[in-house]
Amino acid sequence: MTIGTNEGRRGEESLRSLLGGLPGVDQVGLEARAAALGTRSIKTTSKQWAIDLAISMVDLTTLEGSDTPGKVRALANKAMRPDPTDPTCPPAAAVCVYPDMVAVAREALGAGTGSAGGVQIASVATAFPSGRAALDIKLADTRNAVADGADEIDMVIDRGAFLRGDLALVFEEIVATREACGRPDGTRAHLKVILETGELQTYDSVRRASWLAMHAGADFIKTSTGKIQPAATAPVTLLMLEAVRDFRLETGRQVGVKPAGGIRTSKDAIKYLVMVNETLGDDWLDPDWFRFGASSLLNDLLLQRQKMTTGHYSGPDYVTLD
């Protein structure tokens, strides 16, 4: 399936009718369904499997003004060896950093990573987190990260444009950013599109923004920057899972989902995996198609993993703090 760009520049009117034709979302019903899935009880072998899967789906993130090369190097090492005492522990999916830290991360992760496999480098771009900059600056931000070795770009949509109804602008920015992900060798960095669902407010808007992003060529749709509350929630993620499911049914193209922000415990992570399992199934139970944008989550997963391996509760001194 050719993707994204062949959609071309969609007119405002056609976008409007495309998104307006989507079924509405009932808030109470959606939240009730998400809560019901949260009551699934996952035990023993299933839980071990789920924890390892969750670890392998973590985009280990640091997005602070105070980030330094030292901090990013530590993060990269943690991503490669989440539990240095246990070689069976899988690596995280990626590290997620600001564009100026991509080169540091690339160096720290060394050869044999990136597109070839292993821990990926994801970089936020497009004037993250607000997205309030001119398009050429956003695109330069993107190109810079890609040039420095980013495997994945986490862009933000222009929520202001979306809310005031300028859907074409949002669409075109995604298309342009996707083009900016291109590399000289013809390959391109994967594009994750952050909807910042906490600012879109209604589930109807989240569903429309999801479809807009997918039609514009997103490889992933992502809930949040982590800088706005609420960030990822179970219902909003469920809604986006339904969107990628329906999008694949309609177009044949599979899009990934990344909830980010606010997922801190193994219990929560497993609930998200249950949602993926029951909404989408095996096809998405893979780090290529589902990610957690998180930082503290990884250590909680490791503590649980140790508990299941050793049979007793572990403590924070037994996981690394980077």
């Binding site: 072998t45 399992n277 199934g281």
Partner: protein
């Protein structure tokens, strides 16, 4: 159920049954004590395994007479004389004890009834506690029931409850009756007596005065003896329309007031502008909640023709994720059919659906070898002329019909002798209100289904019975001056 997925199999997560202590045999609860019945006994089984759980006394007319006498004495000497504020405190106590012992009740209910622990734990038992808490607060506020100052209780209520929500139906019956100052003789369904008998222990723990609640176990003849007893003032029955009709006949010419919650064949109407994912959830919970053993189940799906294919596809996909099996497994969505008899009825009516040319589709799942099971099933190509569109199946079987216009939807929805509930799914507010106004049903769920709350009146039109349970209306049904 064998899932179509392989990577993420949930390991069994059974709730421990060690929390419940089932005796080998049970007597009746009369005058605050467990007493032996004067007749024979019958066995109650776990419908998921056919394992015998206990022997239950079959109350004879003489036993019923003793229970009514105990209730009468308690009413005359104690309960009707107690200030409402004091009655309230007993009901609050019961509410609290039910919450404290909720796990025990949930496990016992799932063992005896076959419903998934997820439902008994998260729906039935919490509602029981809430029901007592709600009506406790009414006990000293009867003057606000809309029947004038200081309305009087009726006296002794004979209450007969069904097997689909045993402990929840008990609460729906007993809580308002006691709040209004009545005493009760309650007969649980013969296949699901255990939680009612455990509730008798709760009455003892709460130090409820002897005879205020009496529980007589048994089948139809016990119920008949109760309904026909000359010294009861009120009959409250939830069950089949056939039995409801017999009760309505038998109380003719008496002073007995009656509340009847009977059968249904609810239409669940999905318009093309519905929130489809939530509508699919509503369709699923509407017919597969509690294995479809629900009088208000949305057993007739009416889908607007232009979204029929899409809704059906989504529905089947969703049904494929339902997990059928051990009711005590926390991940079970669909439990056991309550009895061999009920399974036979579901099987028979489904065969009628086949014979009448409707197309059957069942979610792919493996049924356990022992116990009573029926896979979640839908019939498409159903019209109003099919028996499966008219008769209550009371199982996990959905009949799917289509419509073109709102008027056609209303016409089909109302074209039934029943009138208990209905569902409407559309994002258009004015259409919801227009549909709700024209649906001849006592409960209309718009963009939701199968919601229950003690503050909300529940009950049907036409052959779905009369009177309401829940809310102020449910209280008034146990006071002098109310119509029914």
């Amino acid at each position: 159920m064998t899932s179509t997925r392989s990577a993420f199999e949930y390991a069994p997560a059974p709730e421990s049954r060690s929390i419940v202590d089932i005796k080998s045999s049970y007597g009746l609860f009369v005058g605050g004590e467990f007493v032996d019945g004067s007749g024979t006994s019958f066995t109650t089984i776990n419908p998921a395994t056919e394992e015998v759980l206990a022997e239950i006394a079959e109350a004879t007319p003489a036993d019923v007479d003793r229970a009514v006498a105990a209730a009468r004495t308690a009413h005359t000497r104690v309960w009707s004389k107690l200030p409402g504020s004091e009655r309230a405190k007993y009901l609050y106590r019961i509410a609290r004890i039910m919450a404290e012992r909720s796990r025990e009740f949930a496990v016992l209910e799932s063992l005896d009834n076959g419903k998934p622990i997820k439902e008994s734990r998260d729906v039935d038992v919490p509602l029981v506690s809430q029901w007592f808490f709600y009506y406790a607060g009414w006990a000293d506020k009867l003057s606000y029931a809309g029947l004038g100052p200081d309305p009087k209780s009726l006296g002794v209520a004979g209450q007969i409850i069904p097997w689909n929500f045993p402990i929840m139906m008990l609460a729906w019956k007993i809580a308002p009756a006691l709040a209004a100052g009545n005493t009760v003789v309650l007969k649980p369904a013969e296949t699901t007596s255990l939680t009612a008998l455990l509730f008798a222990e709760v009455c003892q723990q709460a130090d409820l005065p002897a005879g205020v609640v009496n529980i007589v176990t048994g089948a139809g003849p016990t119920g008949q003896a109760l309904v026909e007893h000359p010294d009861i003032d009120k009959v409250a029955f939830t069950g089949s329309t056939a039995v409801g009709r017999a009760i309505a006949r038998s109380v003719a010419g008496s002073r007995k007031k009656v509340t009847l919650e009977l059968g249904g064949k609810a239409a669940n109407i999905v318009f093309d502008d519905a929130p489809l994912d939530q509508a699919v959830e509503g369709i699923v919970s509407g017919i597969f909640f509690n294995q479809g053993h629900v009088c208000c189940a949305g057993s007739r799906l009416l889908v607007q023709e232009n979204v029929y294919e899409e809704v059906l596809e989504r529905l089947k996909r969703r049904m494929s994720t339902l997990r059928l099996g051990d009711p005590l497994d926390k991940n079970t969505d669909i439990g056991a059919i309550n009895s061999a008899e009920q399974l036979a009825r579901i099987t028979e009516l489904s065969a009628v659906g086949d014979a009448e040319g409707a197309e059957r589709w069942s979610a792919p799942c493996e049924l356990p070898d022992s116990g009573f099971w029926f896979a979640p099933t839908i019939f498409t190509g159903v019209t109003q002329a099919h028996r499966i569109a008219r008769e209550e199946i009371f199982g996990p079987v959905l009949s799917v019909l289509t419509f073109r216009t709102p008027s056609e939807a209303i016409e089909k929805a109302n074209n039934t002798p029943y009138g208990l509930s209905a569902g409407v799914w559309t994002e258009k507010g004015s259409r919801i209100l227009a549909m709700a106004a024209r649906l001849r049903a006592g409960v209309v769920w718009a963009n939701t289904f199968n919601q229950f709350d003690p503050a909300s009146p529940f009950g049907g039109y036409k052959e779905s019975g009369y009177g309401r349970e829940g809310g102020k209306h449910g209280l008034a049904a146990y006071l002098e001056g109310s119509p029914s």
